[in-house]
Symmetry: C2
Subunit: 137 residues, 2 copies
């Protein structure tokens, strides 16, 4: 392992390891329950804004744009704690989620279970808001 | 939204949305505590083997190889539940982790906290094994 990689893993300097698109992966969990709410991406600016504001900001790959979580839907995330992983290409934020994290209106994006036959079934799939009304699809 | 995208979000068919490298993101959490243990990737084969065996398999981008979690270190993961996210490009597994999930010997890869000044500090950073001994670095 190079000295640089070692420093990234064992040091206390914040040095995110961005991918070719300039992004790290972010996992948001519910601070109250531990449930994973969503997996998304942050670029350097989203990381900085999240750290500075205490609210979650992401970078949308499909829209190629920075966004504050909840700016359209009102379903914001207050960051209780942010953690960095060993090689600094992923962050974990524990959040207080207002309403639903998922654009489909569910509390979590992970509203389907995968069974041993690779079939899906709904779990925790109630909608907390109507996406058609919120996003005017 | 296309009918295909709608089916992927609202249907019960397992149809992972692989990226250009043939991978989905996988978040593994500790079934007992809800802590995020690691973020890694699965290709089609890793997904199938995980579902069939009930043990976590991943695809290593750095080694370009399929691997069974713990095959070298003995620190295996038994999958308690697997969930799929809305657009099927990420999976969440709740696992019973034997020992440490992180290759550095820590229970979780997320052993450093990011504070409001973007400085890191160690939390939960005790090593459960010596990586030099385990991986013969």
């Amino acid at each position: 392992m190079s000295k640089h990689d070692h420093d990234r893993e064992e040091g206390l300097e914040f040095q995110p390891k961005f991918d070719a698109s300039g992004l790290v992966t972010c996992v948001a969990t519910d601070a109250a329950t531990g449930d994973v709410l969503m997996v998304a991406h942050m670029n350097d600016e989203a990381l900085r804004k999240t750290i500075e504001s205490g609210e979650a900001w992401y970078f949308s790959r499909s829209r190629n744009a920075l966004w504050r979580k909840g700016e359209t839907s009102g379903q914001t995330q207050r960051v209780v704690e942010m953690r960095m992983d060993c090689d600094q290409d992923a962050v974990w934020i524990r959040v207080e989620q207002i309403g639903a994290a998922c654009h489909t209106g569910r509390r979590s994006c992970f509203y389907r279970k995968v069974d041993s036959g690779a079939r899906l079934s709904f779990v925790a799939a109630d909608r907390l808001f109507d996406p058609k009304a919120v996003y005017r699809e």
